[in-house]
């Protein structure tokens, strides 16, 4: 582990961007610091799976799902939401992605001295209403204020607790033949935030897609739970990070068809202008699912019927035919050529080249 500390003497923003560097830091600096025996509780999942939520077994086919995430976003109020809605949605979605029904949440807020109380009230209102309208209780929390300049505005940490009844969704069960479904437009949140940060724009008619996916996932789990082998919400690092993570975890090859990816033309143009890949932009209201191949069309139709009209089958999982291919994601471009879709790396910065 000391090699990691030597390699990166100082943390950079890339370590928190949700791409390769974040993954490496979590694995080499955090997970490796915990003895493997304590990576999970007996019969459950935890640091061994590094899934959206951890699982603790409580009875036969019954688990408690737990997740924690901290939220920082700039601007705090952005088109389509604010940090409160972001925290609540993220918490709910992390639980849904392991097949849990969200039941309760706790929050810890650190605010900066001088932060307007009125804004805090708005943020709390969003956090609370997003949770309660999805039938999630808020059962505790913590609140602190830091001296001016020691924290930028506000940071929220949010814990979610859910119950899994039946088979949990464990991404490690994704297998060759599975189809990959994305349930909504790709990159909206990341593009909306980048646009808001640049603030030169007069208007950008794309809003963040931030929302809880309860209305999608609960009915879907009810009907198709055994056929959903993997689920994830592609937040930081975007779809590119998520599918790479899956391919690596399951030692498979995943092939994505660029033509099939739902993406708003404005988001595509905007990303292109900045020279960033829309597939590595964050989403906060879309899920990616790996479902049993022969059920994929049926499941897709059902997702459409739930109001997620942009959902699309974007790819398939294959068995790796060569050890060198293991864990790779292949993308077939609109022009027909193929390339490797790498996990995003580094901080997302606009480029000139």
């Amino acid at each position: 582990m000391t090699w990691y500390v030597r390699l990166w003497r100082l943390l950079t923003l890339a370590h928190g961007a949700g791409g390769k560097e974040t993954e490496d830091l979590i694995k080499h600096l955090i997970v490796d610091s915990v003895p493997p025996k304590y990576w999970r509780v007996e019969g459950g999942t935890g640091l061994d799976a590094l899934d959206d939520s951890a699982l603790i077994p409580i009875a036969r086919d019954k688990y408690i799902a737990v997740t924690i995430d901290s939220y920082t976003v700039k601007p705090i109020f952005f088109p389509g939401g604010n940090i409160g809605k972001l925290a609540a949605s993220g918490t709910i979605n992390d639980l849904l992605m392991v097949g849990a029904k969200p039941v309760a949440a706790l929050d810890a807020i650190i605010a900066e001295e001088g932060f307007p109380t009125e804004q805090l009230k708005k943020i709390i209102d969003s956090y609370v209403s997003t949770l309660t309208s999805n039938d999630v209780a808020i059962i505790g929390g913590d609140f602190k204020v830091m001296p001016k300049g020691q924290v930028d505005g506000i940071v929220i940490a949010s814990t979610g607790i859910g119950i899994v009844e039946g088979k949990p969704i464990d991404d490690r069960e994704i297998k060759p033949g599975d189809k990959i479904i994305v349930t909504g437009y790709v990159g909206d949140h990341g593009a909306a935030i980048l646009a808001a940060q640049q603030s030169i724009g007069v208007k950008f008619d794309v809003e963040s897609d931030v929302k809880p996916l309860t209305s999608l996932m609960l009915p879907l789990l009810e009907k198709y739970r055994p056929y959903i082998h993997g689920a994830g919400d592609p937040t930081r690092g975007g779809i590119a990070m998520l599918v790479n993570d899956w391919a690596e975890k399951t030692k498979t090859v995943i092939v994505i068809e660029e033509e099939k990816i739902p993406i708003r033309p404005q988001v595509k143009e905007y990303a292109e202008m900045l020279g960033v890949d829309p597939l590595s932009l964050a989403n906060e209201g879309a899920a990616v699912l790996a479902v049993q191949g022969d059920k994929a069309e049926e499941i897709l139709e059902y997702i459409h019927s739930l109001g997620y009209k942009e959902a699309s089958i974007i790819g398939q999982v294959y068995e790796a035919k060569d050890p060198r291919h293991v864990g790779r994601v292949l993308l077939r471009s609109v022009t027909g050529g193929v390339r490797i879709l790498e996990p995003p790396s580094g901080e997302i910065v606009p480029r000139i080249c």
């Binding site: 208007k203 143009e269 292109e272 000139i352 080249c353």
Partner: protein
Amino acid sequence: MCLGIPAEVKEVKGDIVLVDFGDGVLREVYGGAYEDLKPGDIVIVHAGIIIEKLKPERAEELVKAINEFIEDLETKASQLFEYIGSEKGETK
């Protein structure tokens, strides 16, 4: 080496030009290295500066030329396939 993105000129304010990159957002870019810009022009923007105008009639020529080139390939291919009596000629 040089990412250049087409954009439509919306407003010219001296050397500062408001453009739309097709995403609906108006952005200020620098137009001081080009003359006679007017709203409606399509320009190529690199690193926040207008480096050239796009000539729609040229683009149209290219599109036409490609269309014909493809058509030409198809005619030739189908003639060829007729000639060798194969049915595997591309039909689309």
